[in-house]
Amino acid sequence: VAAELARSEVEVELARCERNEEFPEELVTRLRQLDLPLLFAAAPGPEITTTYHIHTLNALAAQRSASLAITLGITGLALLPAYLAATDDQLARIRERVLAGGQVAMLLSEWQRGSNLAGTETRGERGHIDGGAFRPIAPGQPAGHYRITGEKQLINLVRRADLLMTLVRTGEPAPGSLGRAGGLTMLLVERDGTVENLPRWRTLPAPAADIGGARFSGTLVPAERRIGEEGEGFRLVQSALTLSRGGIAAFASGTASRACGLAFAYASERAPYGEPIARLEPIAEHLARMAALDLAVTCVSLRAAAAANALGLRAAHQTAVAKLVACDLAERAVTEGRAVLSARALLHEHPYQQVVRDVILYGIFDGTRHVMLDQIAWRARQMCRPGAGAEAVQVYREPPARLDRSARRRGRPWLPRPSETAAALAELPGDVDVAPLAMACRALEAALAGVDADTWARPSFAFAIAASWADLEAALAVAELGDPTRRAALGMTAMPAADLPQPDLAELAVALIAGEALMSARRILAGAGVDLPLAPERELAIMEHRAGARVRGAVQANN
């Protein structure tokens, strides 16, 4: 599949589809003939239905286009509830359907309710078939069938899918204050004539993707196609999104890498002043920052994959951080590239316009930015408490595990303090200086330990701090995985050698991201009457200046 995606003809084919807003039917068919469905089948044998494999597919496809990436990636997302809760018999049947070419979509959102899944209105009436007709039954009696009525909207691939993983309301919410999310159930619906396709939406990013809606008019679903228990749907969706968020970071990583490749190629060829613009210091500066941000997105995405593989649902914090930060940093990388390409970045005839459109897509998937910030703030607060800390887990040494096993690992979220992670990194051999980052982590944790509950309760404070906190964790991911020596010491395989000196690039990324995170946190904390010492920020600024000059020099020298 990777070899097929790397063919230059594929780029031409996708560009034509995007221009004409046409679904890339032929390409998708070719990829499926290359045994792509095996990747999702969770079949016995070589373990290829793993977090690592699916994230890699996401990143490789996103290097081509977001339209293709979300078209291929949706199967992995839609099957997550099955990996989490399907019985062995159900998994076997799903495997058979997927290997026979069945496509799967995930039907969660509704037009009126948007991201409020607890408000799902599509109904799955409980009943049984009697004399060929559906008869509703009273609550408490076991259902033999469900009858679905309602409408789902803004659903990727729904118009083409044969299997519809659908969240429906089979009961009323529980009466108490925490019961709002009760009464929801996940059903794997086999498409039939009662499922009507609703028109395709035209979208700014991913214009070749087929995003539309579906209307159910009394669709009958046997109870054996229920995934998990009745009423467990909300929890299943939450768990699935916890795991899929790392995959969104992989999408962002693919787009950032594509942007980087296009900007570097352009800057080495474009010579309006007689020499390639990459040799000009301001342009080399943008390219250096862009490459550093691209590296950071890769590292944070890989860290989430490793955590999800090793810990399953316990990696909820790492996947939320990855989704938030990877999408933000990829957008920043694309903006740096726009400064390199200038007007060319906005021409339909130049491929860069595609990444400008695509990169804004991923942030809205699987929980909005605000949902991520809320979760990160809440867990950051836990980590700042005196005595908080988590056991050391070697997530990178865990071999890739099949998703129907790794996804079912559950327990309390793994919340290692950033300062402890930094201290552990300092013990490992490495070329990136982690001392300023460790100092930054300690300073922020100490400052936050002094913040009162009322201040934390203000979203304007909590969300801003969560963003800074997540950025510090991203910088830690770069110190772990962007530094080739430390990466090897952690048990990870090498990354392909880049043209730029990797330790310098990693140091630039660490200093840039952590420095800005601290600056933002200091401002917010000052508003709350809490001081954040300036020393770590100063150290990081010096590091950024030195590493930046080395990377910029390398960019200029390579051109």
Partner: protein
């Protein structure tokens, strides 16, 4: 005695998961007041499961109907009894 011990442990877990001072968690305190909503409830359930080696089902209607810290501790106690 057993119930009060469970109550004490549950109060500690709430303080831990919600990152609030242990002294602010009272038996009659409303769970919502500690910021526990339907999403965060999952973290608390996982903490309880971890502590007691129990498996609580999020689809359990009793769980949704909880209002206070004491209600939650009583539910844990009932599940522990059933488990024994």
């Amino acid at each position: 005695v057993a119930q009060s011990k469970t109550l004490e442990t549950v109060m500690g877990l709430i303080a831990d998961v919600c990152a609030v001072d242990a002294g602010t968690v009272k038996p009659e305190g409303k769970l919502l007041a500690f910021g526990i909503d339907s999403v965060r409830l999952l973290d608390l359930i996982l903490a309880i499961e971890d502590r007691y080696g129990l498996e609580l089902s999020e689809s359990d209607p009793e769980l949704g109907a909880l209002e206070t810290v004491r209600d939650l501790a009583a539910l844990v106690e009932r599940r522990l009894e059933a488990h024994r």
